[in-house]
């Protein structure tokens, strides 16, 4: 390498080192300006170095030029940064950086919706038990929503008061259970599925009701599934989801599409069972409706009710999320308030 090129590259390195050091030491705007003129001014040392590029051998000129530009960029950037620091701190040199109690810099944190998290955890537990995850339409026929599930149309649940009708025989599904009938029509056993999704009821939007809300449906049908398996499986789920110390109880209930039918209560996760406002002083929170699939449903979907048995269950993940996080008003879940949602990051 030629003497002119080498010496100019050395000189550039020297300018960079000295310049950066001087900028870092400048403890006032005026001191910084003096440094700027010395290195970056019209007749400063960097301008001088640029002037020297003309004396370098032509084949080395691009490389030297590039280096000169890089040094210039580095000094300008350091100067800008230092100027901003001095402006902001107004304090004597160096203190801002050395006060380690100053708050650090954050990025926005993302968050999954608390109801999504509940749905995912529930589905994950059932996935370990051989259940697959499917879905079904929200616009549903009266047949799948009611008739196939053994719900007579004059049943209170099918009442015009509770259901959003879209057209003759077409409604917004009032529960995720119609997917039970759909999946059994399409597949032969073994059927083991969970079905998260939205359901709709004509309930006005208030602290404990929403006209659209999440449900998780579950269905297991095969030869040889009995009440013992049903209850053991769901109790396993309860312990996995709510924790091993949680107590649970199966109470008799009624659903037109299961028989026997049960409701599952868990000991209140807020008060531990001693009674509080969350559990309405009963010590128990109802989390699930379930039962052995009614033979009438099998007949409606073309299964042999003498051959196959199984169980179905339904849960409301929104209510579970409310209990879990102590959320007092269901509307908070659906308002899209960033201040609410980012609490769950």
């Amino acid at each position: 390498m030629s003497p002119a090129g080498t010496s100019l590259l050395d000189r550039l390195t020297e300018i960079e080192e000295q310049g950066l050091a001087a900028i870092g030491k400048a403890d006032s705007a005026s001191a910084l300006e003096t440094v700027r003129i010395e290195f970056l001014g019209r007749s400063g040392s960097l301008a001088e170095a640029f002037g020297g590029i003309g004396t370098v051998e032509p084949e080395l000129r691009p490389r030297v030029g590039q280096r000169a530009n890089a040094v210039k960029q580095a000094l300008i950037s350091a100067h800008t940064h230092r100027a901003r620091e001095l402006e902001r701190s107004g304090a004597p040199e160096g203190q801002a950086e050395h006060d380690l109690t100053l708050p650090g810099r954050h990025r926005w944190a993302g968050a999954v919706h608390p109801v999504t998290r509940v749905i995912d955890e529930i589905c994950d537990i059932f996935s370990e038990l051989g259940f697959t995850k499917i879905r079904g339409p929200e616009i549903e026929s009266v047949w799948y929503n009611f008739t196939a599930l053994n719900i007579p149309l004059d049943h209170p649940a099918a009442d015009m008061m509770d259901t959003f009708y879209l057209d003759e025989g077409v409604i917004l599904r009032t529960h995720t259970s119609p997917v039970q009938a759909r999946v059994m029509e399409e597949y032969e056993p073994p059927v083991r599925v969970v079905v998260p999704g939205l359901a709709y009821r004509r309930d006005s939007f208030d602290p404990s009701h929403a006209p659209a809300f999440e449900q998780i449906e579950g269905l297991a049908v095969d030869e040889g599934i009995d009440f013992i398996e049903f209850r053991s499986t769901l109790e396993h789920f309860v312990r996995r989801f709510f924790g091993p110390e949680t107590r649970s109880r199966f109470r008799p209930a009624f659903y037109p599409f299961t028989e026997p039918s049960a409701e599952v209560d868990v000991s209140c996760t807020v008060c531990g069972g001693s009674g509080c406002s969350t559990c309405k002083r009963t010590g128990w929170i109802t989390i699930m409706g379930c039962g052995m699939v009614d033979p009438a449903v099998y007949e409606n979907v073309g299964y042999d009710p003498e051959k196959y048995t199984g169980y179905a269950f339904g849960m409301g993940p929104a209510r579970i999320a409310m209990v879990r996080h102590g959320i007092p008003d269901m509307r908070l879940l659906y308002e899209g308030d960033v201040g609410f949602l980012e609490q769950f990051s």
Binding site: G65, Q66, R88, P103, R105, H106, G110, A111, V112, H113, T116, C123, G130, R135, E138, I139, S141, D154, F164, Y165, L166, G169, V170, V183, E188, P189, P190, R192, S204, F205, P211, A212, E214, D222, D226, F227, I228, R231, S232, H236, R249, R251, P252, E259, P260, S261, A262, E263, R281, T282, P295, T309, Y334, G336, D337, V338, G339, L341, F344, S345
Partner: protein
């Protein structure tokens, strides 16, 4: 349904459990006990008092000066504010020094100049009922000074039951007691009323019976299967005895008078609704069960004037409707203080007809609740007898010895077969025939001989037959009996066995994995997930009409959303209204539309059920606005801008959908509804020429943003377009150093950055590792109509350190390509 524990203990003398245990046992085997509340637990010191004298207060119109006998030697002066105080009558008396249930202590004090030593009180003041109209009149025959709670049978505990809709039989005390017996229903003992008995001679007729000076007819047999009537003459209507009042108060029912209270007592005891008419008010001494006539009017007991129509079933006399069958009586024929003769109605109205009546008049009562769900048709005679005997005991009078009974003869109780093998198959337990009988017998299921000996013997023994009691109309199939076995066995007593299972034959729906990918992507970039309701007010822009909800909750929710961004814009406005400026939401949700018949025609062969007219789809919506990063003291904040949106959208397009983001010139339509919210800075997500979604700046008119808000940016795309099978092939990393070169060119404004980049990549060799645009400049030093673009290049080889010559060769090719294609001029420093 409310249940009095004292009442229950009277019915079941053998019941030894405490209230807690009782409530638990019932919850676990029959129906949930929602709450247990003490009734009349704070009435100590309150006694029965008789008013000896009642005179107007000299200084106040509405007050009465009373002198009462409260069991002490000396009468006591009490000032009373009730509208009516009867001389000689008995009332509850709170002496001075005692406390009302609410905690209010009664003291001797002067009221308008007259001393008052205590208080006569109403049901409401004693917290026994809702009646605050006047002081609580007690039945004659009590002794002044007797403890009030004692004569009322208090304190008591009220159980509030949450009944399952199939178990209406539990809506009565005997019904509840049946579930609690240990060995047999014989353990249940009905209260002895102490009055005369009544064993009527029934006068039967299929449609009509005339007897005891009455005619009763069923003109609408499809609405009423049986109608039983009894006539009692010469009753004295007045307050009920305290025990009866106490029972009704304990379950929260309102005492009215002895006759009405008697009918209600039997309702809550045996579950049979009974109605008493004032016989003398019935024209023609006639009762007909018939369809109401259109426009017929009736004032019901609640004081409402109602207009009937033929869907309503009415009880009529010769001239008019006098009651709503199975729902409510009429005011004209109600039992009053002046009533002396009664017709007692005990009927079986058809569930559908009572439901129709209730629906037509939007009216529900204790009676209609039971009729709608089905009462025990076999229990009518017993219930009517019980009611007549109670009225005779508490209101006197004489019952006609003949009872009227109209309607079809009651059918035999059905019997259902139960295979022990079916019990084993469904429940997994195998109790065997005797144990099954032991479980079902006590609640009224009687084991019978099988019809034929051969009847389907299984491995667990031959089939059993059980007769179904009349109050269990919900039990109609073998599986219903299986449920009874499980319930009586106790769900809690089933053993635990984890069973082996076969994995599901049903495949996972890919949408859930697609949703997971989308969630992971946006959460990693600092966005929060929203879940909005699916409803929207009508939107007038858009290519397709939104799906209308004919029976919406409100006009604001009268359509189903056809896109997510408009819903997220409403969520943004909610945030603005709360003073939040920094918004970063994403949502995965369903959008709805009417099916485009040609495009979305249902699967071939699918049955048309009406749903094929509609279309629904999962989509992803994104909305961002406000600061790019949370404010920090060290830097000035900057708002999210076009390049933030473009970067996010392009990355989402590429990584999630394998798609590219293309600018869309203003004036060109984008996919469907995005035009409703997109402004001039707009893009579309494209894959294989198909538009998957849109992104860009939200137009001002589409969002109600405050002046302090910043620009709103949004994106929406199909969830179905998210790629799941993308497996990234590893590219070997070079261990040799990279060579960096910069290139600045001046090009006409018409030359687009993307085209130039493509040209660069197209002309360079494989040594070009990456290019990055680092400067865009127009203005001083650059000719009008031109701009300067500068890129940083990185060259690298896998197998060697590159020489300057190799890189220079590539740079030369690139520069000439740009000069040629874009009329670019190379800028030199």
């Amino acid at each position: 349904m409310n249940v009095s524990v004292n009442w229950l203990r009277e019915l079941l003398p053998g019941l030894s459990e405490g209230v807690e245990e009782l409530a638990h046992r019932f919850s676990m085997t029959a129906a949930a006990v929602e709450s247990t509340d003490s009734v009349g637990g704070a009435l100590e010191g309150i006694v029965v008092a008789q008013v000896l004298e009642a005179d107007p207060h000299p200084n106040a119109d509405r007050l009465t000066l009373c002198r009462v006998d409260a069991g002490h030697e000396e009468p006591i002066d009490v000032v009373c504010g009730a509208p009516v105080v009867e001389k000689g009558a008995l009332y509850p008396y709170v002496p001075a020094g005692a406390t009302l249930p609410g905690g209010f202590r009664i003291e001797s004090r002067k009221i308008r100049g007259e001393m008052s030593h205590g208080m006569l009180c109403s049901e409401a003041e004693l917290e026994l009922g809702r009646d605050k109209g006047g002081i609580m009149r007690l039945r004659d025959g009590l002794t002044p000074g007797q403890s009030l709670p004692e004569v009322l049978g208090l304190p008591d505990v009220r159980l509030s039951l949450d009944l399952n809709p199939n178990r209406v039989d539990l809506a009565s005390h005997v019904g509840v007691a049946r579930e609690l017996v240990h060995e047999s229903l014989a353990e249940i003992v009905l209260r002895d009323f102490g009055g005369p008995g009544w064993s009527p001679e029934w006068q039967d007729g299929e449609r009509e019976v005339s007897a005891v000076g009455m005619t009763v007819a069923i003109d609408a047999p499809d609405r009423c299967s049986r109608y039983l009537g009894a006539v009692i003459r010469g009753v004295t209507v007045g307050p009920s005895p305290a025990w009866l009042t106490g029972r009704l108060l304990a379950i929260g029912a309102r005492p009215i008078n002895n006759v009405v209270d008697a009918t209600n007592y039997v309702l809550f005891e045996l579950n049979q609704p009974i109605h008493a008419f004032d016989l003398q008010t019935l024209s023609g001494s006639e009762i007909r069960v018939r369809a109401a006539m259109a426009g017929e009017r009736l004032r019901t007991l609640d004081g409402e004037d109602r207009t009937l129509d033929p869907s309503v079933t009415s009880i009529a006399d010769r001239d008019r409707s006098v009651a709503l069958a199975g729902v409510m009586g009429g005011e004209d024929t109600e039992v009053t203080d002046r009533t002396s003769d009664l017709l007692i109605e005990c009927a079986a109205f058809e569930p559908a007809s009572v439901r129709a009546t209730g629906r037509a008049l939007t009216l529900g009562t204790d009676a209609s609740y039971r009729f709608e769900r089905g009462i025990d048709e076999h229990g009518l005679e017993a219930a009517l007898t019980r009611c007549v005997e109670l009225i005779l005991a508490v209101a006197g009078g004489e019952a006609e010895p003949k009872g009227i009974r109209v309607g079809a003869t009651v059918t035999d109780l059905p019997a259902i077969q139960l295979r022990p093998s079916r019990v084993k198959q469904v429940l997994g337990i195998d109790p065997g025939p005797d144990e099954i009988e032991r479980l079902l017998g006590p609640i009224g299921f009687e084991r019978q001989e099988p019809l034929e000996k051969s009847a389907e013997a299984g491995t667990s023994g031959p089939a059993l037959r059980f007769q179904i009691p009349g109050w269990r109309r919900d039990v109609t199939r073998e599986i219903d009996l299986v449920e009874e076995v499980a319930r009586r066995f106790g769900f809690e007593n089933f053993p635990h066995h984890d069973r082996r299972f076969r994995p599901s034959a049903v495949p996972d729906d890919p949408a859930w994995s697609q949703a997971d990918r989308v969630r992971e992507f946006f959460v990693a970039r600092g966005l929060v997930e929203a879940r909005s309701l699916s409803f929207m007010p009508e939107q007038h822009r858009g290519n397709r009409a939104e799906v209308a909800v004919p029976n919406p909750l409100s006009a604001e929710e009268s359509y189903l959303r056809a896109a997510l961004v408009p819903v997220l814009l409403r969520r943004a406005e909610h945030n603005f209204a709360r003073g939040r400026r920094d918004i970063r939401l994403f949502e995965i949700g369903t959008v709805f539309g009417y099916a485009d018949t040609e495009r979305d025609a249902g699967e071939p062969g699918a049955t048309a059920d009406g749903t094929e007219r509609f279309h629904e789809q999962l989509r992803v919506g994104v909305l961002i606005s406000g600061e790019r990063d949370p404010a920090h003291w060290s830097t000035e904040s900057e708002d999210l801008g076009l390049w933030d949106l473009k970067g996010l959208a392009a990355e989402a397009a590429e990584r999630l959908c394998d798609a590219t983001l293309e600018p869309v010139p203003d004036g060109n339509a984008i996919a469907g509804r995005a035009d409703a919210w997109l402004d001039t800075e707009r893009f579309r997500l494209v894959r294989d020429g198909k538009t998957l979604g849109a992104a860009g700046r939200v137009r001002d008119a589409a969002v109600d943003a405050p002046p302090w808000g910043s620009s709103v940016w949004a994106m929406e795309f199909d969830l179905a377009s998210v790629i799941l099978e993308r497996t990234t092939a590893y590219r070997p990393l070079s261990t040799f150093p990279a060579v960096r070169r910069d290139l600045a060119v001046t090009v006409p404004l018409s030359a687009e950055a993307l085209a130039i980049e493509r040209a660069i990549r197209g002309s360079a060799s494989e040594l070009l590792e990456s290019i990055r645009l680092f400067d865009v400049y127009a203005g001083e030093g650059i000719d009008e109509g031109q701009r300067s673009l500068a890129w940083a290049f990185r060259f690298r080889a896998r197998d060697r350190t590159l020489t300057d010559q190799e890189v220079d060769a590539d740079m030369t090719v690139i520069t000439s390509a740009l000069e040629e294609q874009f009329d670019a001029r190379i800028r030199t420093t």
